[in-house]
Symmetry: C2
């Protein structure tokens, strides 16, 4: 397998934060950064760089949702070889919060958007690019995108300064054929861009789809330790570390972190393969309905859930309030 | 995907029995048989047809380890369209226990063996074949087999009456490239045989490897409900039912069984992706050392376990007893 060209972005803090509402201790983040450095992981995504005044809720969520350079400098006083990354959402970034890269702890800023907002994402990317950051564009929910809309987006992306364009399987609904199809489509449409992949494990295909993408030319692979990520979780960092043919990667160096932090974390919070996630994955739906079910007292009522998901007329009568 | 040719063998009782020492109630097995019928599953493996006098331990293990036709007839008084299968091990079968198929509840008998015992397996298969059963030969631990031994086995298998030859990833150590390699090798060497696949989920690749095999001509796919099987478990039946393009398969019809039986079962017994299984999988080792670790008080000491597995000189000094 020719995968020496790949780079790993560990998203535990960012995507895993969707599981535990960013309830990560500073020690957890420091230990993870040390482990990822030792294991040879290329990037660590330390959270979201959204602006609290544009999103609200800064009080409820931990600092990892609203990354602040001063804070980050205290958490990671000494940077190693693992670069730092943050994700931003369209409409939630205040330009005034973004330092030039030379003054920032961050190396890479990733912009996540739905297909209809690719123009807005590119505007942000241009700003980050001017300030010296590496950039990625992560088009979410690709499995729900019409090809005509995607082709239109490709034209804009090709002309933009973005470094890496992501194939994001937000719903965990892609199999290896779908992945191969998208990789080839992206490669053909964007010959001047590098590609990345972000998978979800609803159908137990996150790791496999990531390997298929890597083998077919995708260079940047998202993962998280013990697969911790929204819903069914992500491709496990530890699986990539042991499987990719790259002598700098080491499974051994993330094992103490798994023992110390991830086993207690998994005791407290839930992610990974569960039947409701299989159902939303196979139906190519956002996992939010599965997450709501799992948080309710009917969490194991799979048949009723499936029937609701399969009933087009299900919903609420639209009576106006009196 | 052209997978309409595939058949599913649900191994929950047989391989899952390795998790809970065959502690399945009669109601569990009856409900599973009904669910598999409704869901369109082709075969249900109801256990082992080993002979208690050749293996011992019949008192400790449930009846599913030593299947008896009279008992089976009481459990399943009315057979549906789902056929019944049993596994036997070399040296543990008493010919006198094997009824002709016309008098038996079983349709399919599968013989599992290591490569060195293929001759003995074929002898058994000839007997089962004469008595009217469909047969499979399951060569275990293929990832540890020398090609020269495999080629020798192929010659014997080609001349035998066995119907289906299995690719068995006992250690959960194969990725999609390994699987494709083996499938092509088996297809080329055994043009007169149908092929089957049995996977383990140590690296979260069981479902993916099964799909890769199916897509490349393997016809018979092993799985178990909620993936219940030894160690990291198997390819989940429910994932195959929803993903294979075959109108007779129905995910919906196994959901009540999952709710009623598998959620309580998983609360009581442990199987599935765990770090020690990833370690034995990636090292291409039998999972028994991982199972021993997980049953001990050091179950989460992953680094020490990894170091032991990586140390060729580890072991015990061989002092003779005085």
């Amino acid at each position: 397998m020719k995968t020496n060209h790949c780079k790993i972005i560990d998203c535990t803090i960012r995507d895993g934060g969707l599981v535990n509402q960013w309830d990560f201790s500073i020690e957890f983040v420091q230990d993870l950064y040390a482990a990822l450095n030792d294991a040879g992981v290329d990037y660590m995504e330390v959270g979201y760089k959204n602006s609290p005044k544009l999103l609200g809720g800064a009080d409820q969520a931990g600092p990892w949702r609203f990354l602040n350079d001063d804070f980050l400098r205290k958490v990671i006083p000494q940077k190693g070889t693992t670069k730092l990354s943050a994700l931003v959402d369209i409409g939630r970034v205040d330009e005034a919060d973004i330092l030039p890269r030379s003054e920032s702890m961050l190396d890479l800023i990733r912009v996540a958007c739905y297909i209809k907002d690719v123009d807005k994402a590119i505007e942000l990317i241009e700003m980050f690019n001017e300030r010296g950051y590496e950039t990625t564009l992560n088009i979410m929910a690709l499995s729900n995108v019409l090809e005509t809309d995607l082709n239109e987006a490709f034209e804009m992306i090709k002309a933009s300064p973005v470094d890496i364009v992501y194939i994001v399987d937000s719903y965990g609904s892609l199999d290896h054929n779908d992945m191969l199809y998208l990789v080839n489509k992206f490669k053909e449409a964007l010959p001047n861009k590098r590609l990345g992949v972000h998978t979800h494990n609803n159908m137990q295909l996150a790791f496999s789809n990531t390997l298929i993408a890597a083998e077919n030319g995708v260079e940047v692979l998202d993962s998280s330790v013990y697969g911790m990520g929204r819903g069914a979780g992500n491709c496990p960092t530890e699986a990539l570390l042991t499987h990719l043919k790259n002598s700098k990667y080491s499974l051994r160096h993330v094992l103490p972190f798994l023992t110390k932090h991830m086993i207690p974390m998994r005791d407290k919070w839930e992610w990974g393969y569960l039947i409701p996630y299989l159902i939303t994955g196979t139906l190519d739906e956002h996992p939010r309905s599965a997450m709501a079910l799992l948080a309710s007292s009917e969490r194991d009522e799979f048949s009723a859930f499936y029937d609701r998901m399969m009933t087009p007329e299900a919903g609420f009568a639209q009576k106006k309030p009196e």
